[in-house]
């Protein structure tokens, strides 16, 4: 029998029981679809995080506060202070930049334009270099201006556009809350990184933000405490040495032994490593989920193929009596099982790709459909079909023609 004829018989058998065939395929559809959607979510998350990490700038070391238990005031004690940043810049070799950031939110007025809830980012002077930002126009502020609490500001590119349009913003006044600042520069467009829009923010010396715009009581009591210091390293080779220097310096400044340090030092590599470990764990979980659902789908196919063999025992007998060999019968049922799983796989791919897109647009999470996941899921479906289709097909092939013909 020609393979095209075998295919036609199998296809006709599937179409004869449309609902049953569809229900049989459901396991495969869900399995394949789930793999594609989940891999798309995982790949999307990974891409976002990678972009975020890269956008932070290369060769970064993060010094973070670990607050100790509340003291007499009930507020956390210890941790990093603003001056620690300057100390690292001055006291550690091989450091090319140190940045401390403090954000706030304020209403901004300039000319006739009023913008509510604009994010203010107070930083030290090394910010553009450490965070990989460039100046489009004018300049960023320097250390002296930070120290002197100068009322100056640098605009993100889209913020500049919104406030001043075609007008050159350099030298113009803006009112932030109730404070007047002079614009000294505009940043190059950076775009959206993760959830952060770097272009809509207003940048100013951290001293100004701490002084004028951190309104909460918590912040005020915390005073010059900072949560995070970004340290840019000149050369990756010296990373371990620099980390040790920072630890020793800060421990000495805080008057604590290293074991009881109120801060931690991590590198981008640590973050990437953690991210990779998380992703790997997620991937292997995905693998299990997909594997289990495909096996369940395969058992569904085997079950329905066994039913089909029983239902069509008479037909098998007729075919045998007019010359079908065991292999003819085996191929016919194997083809049917394969077709079920492949059509199921195909529907699963459509649902998976569509599902990833819908999930992405509904949840706002980024999803990236990975071609390999489609190929993997689809070929797994085919293997499952062949594997679970073999037993029923073999059963059909082994039927005794006389018994089969007698079957009602």
């Amino acid at each position: 029998m020609k393979s095209s004829e075998v295919f036609n018989i199998a296809w006709a058998a599937i179409l004869k029981n449309k609902v049953r065939s569809l229900l049989t395929m459901l396991g495969i559809i869900i399995g394949v679809g789930a793999v594609i959607v989940m891999v798309a979510i995982s790949a999307g998350t990974e891409a976002t995080i990678n972009e975020e990490i890269n956008s932070l700038g290369a060769n970064l070391v993060f010094v973070q506060s670990t607050f100790t238990r509340g003291g007499a005031s009930g507020m956390p004690e210890g941790g990093l202070v603003y001056d620690d940043a300057a100390a690292i810049a001055d006291g550690v070799d091989g450091v090319s930049g140190v940045v401390v950031e403090q954000s706030a939110s304020q209403t901004i007025k300039a000319g006739g334009v009023v913008l509510d809830a604009v994010t203010l980012l107070g930083s030290t002077a090394d910010f553009p270099s450490v965070r990989d930002m460039s100046i489009a126009d004018g300049r960023y502020f320097n250390d002296l201006e930070v120290d002197r609490n100068q009322k100056i500001a640098v605009l993100g590119s889209s913020l500049a556009e919104e406030l001043f349009g075609e007008t050159d913003p350099i030298g113009q006044d803006i009112t932030v809350g109730t404070t007047r600042l002079v614009v000294i520069g505009v940043l190059e467009e950076k775009g959206l990184v993760g959830d952060v829009d770097y272009d809509s923010r207003l940048y100013m010396p951290i001293s100004v933000v701490l002084d004028k715009f951190t309104q909460s009581q918590f912040s005020r009591i915390m005073g010059d405490r900072v949560r995070l210091i970004y340290v840019e390293v000149e050369d990756q080779e010296n990373l371990d040495d620099i980390i040790l220097q920072i630890q020793l310096l800060l421990a000495k400044r805080h008057d604590l032994p290293l074991e009881e340090a109120d801060f931690t030092v991590t590198t981008q590599q640590d973050i990437i490593g953690t991210q990779e470990a998380t992703t790997a764990a997620f991937r292997s979980l995905l693998g299990w989920v997909a594997g289990v659902s495909l096996i369940v789908g395969g058992i569904g196919i085997m079950n329905i193929m066994l039913v089909s063999v029983t239902e069509r025992t008479r037909e098998i007998g007729i075919r045998q009596s007019i010359g079908a060999t065991p292999n003819d019968i085996r191929w016919q049922f194997l083809t049917e099982a394969l077709l079920l799983s492949l059509v199921g796989g195909l529907i699963g791919v459509v649902f998976g790709v569509g599902g990833a897109w819908i999930f992405g647009s509904v949840s706002g999470m980024r999803t990236v459909v990975v071609t390999e996941s489609i190929i993997l899921a689809f070929s797994s479906a085919a293997i499952v079909g062949a594997f679970f289709g073999f037993y029923p097909a073999n059963k059909a092939a082994e039927l005794d023609p006389i018994e089969a013909l007698r079957h009602e």
Partner: protein, 238 residues
């Protein structure tokens, strides 16, 4: 004048069951059917005629004994070889027609051609061959109908066409009129006699002495053995 033997059996024995439950459904049956002969097999139920039919039709193999079909020792063939023999050398006509449901008369008749490995035919050639055979058995305008749309007599004609399509050396008919009213039954028997007159070798199981009496010989089976063989006098006209 001795015609070539199509069927030749030596001590065919079929044993079912094990140990004390052993039953010999066939017990040393030796028969011979020559080319162009029309033979009826009769016997009460349990006499072994179904078992004999299954062996002669190459649907099963005897426990012991030899069966030569068209000079080939088929009692020693395996499943795959037997399937090829069934396809090329034997045409079956069953009491309950055994057509594939939801499959047109034409496609039912094409089926043996599809399982034929030896002869290369295009789809058009197959349709051509099958249509000719269907016309020959008297079905012209209903070849695109499915079995459930045909009368019993018409279904049996489709089955006969299917049996003939590969030019078999032997036609096995198992109670071919058993499910038909007397008029359709008579028409089907006439068709079989026409085939016989054109030279076909036919072995037919029947319960009806009347139907058997129109064949050349009747083989009576009893308890797995040949009870008697009666010559009926009909001769092939060609």
């Amino acid at each position: 004048m001795t015609a070539r033997a199509i069927i030749e059996t030596k001590d065919l024995t079929q044993i079912y069951g094990m140990g004390d439950a052993r039953v010999a459904a066939l017990d040393g049956v030796s028969i011979s059917v020559h080319d162009g002969e029309f033979v009826a097999i009769m016997g009460p139920s349990g006499s072994g005629k179904s078992t004999l039919m299954n062996i002669l039709g190459c649907l099963s193999r005897p426990t012991s004994g030899a069966y030569y079909l068209d000079s080939e020792t088929v009692s020693e063939l395996d499943k795959v070889e037997l399937a090829a023999i069934r396809n090329k050398k034997i045409g079956y006509i069953f009491q309950s027609y055994n057509l594939l449901s939801r499959t047109t008369a034409l496609d039912n008749v094409i089926l043996p051609l599809q399982y034929d490995r030896e002869t290369e035919r295009t789809t058009e050639e197959r349709i051509d061959v099958a249509t000719k055979v269907l016309n020959m058995v008297g079905l012209v305008d209903r070849i695109k109908h499915q079995p459930q749309e045909l009368s019993g007599g018409q279904q049996q004609r489709v089955a006969i066409a299917r049996a003939l399509v590969n030019n078999p050396v032997l036609i096995m008919a198992d109670e071919p009129t058993g499910n038909l009213d007397s008029k359709s039954g008579a028409e089907i028997m006439q068709l079989l006699h026409d085939l016989h007159d054109e030279g076909a070798t036919i072995v037919m199981v029947t319960h009806s002495t009347e139907i058997a009496s129109h064949t050349e010989r009747t083989i009576h089976l009893l308890d797995g053995k040949i009870d008697k063989i009666i010559g009926n006098g009909k001769k092939a006209t060609k």
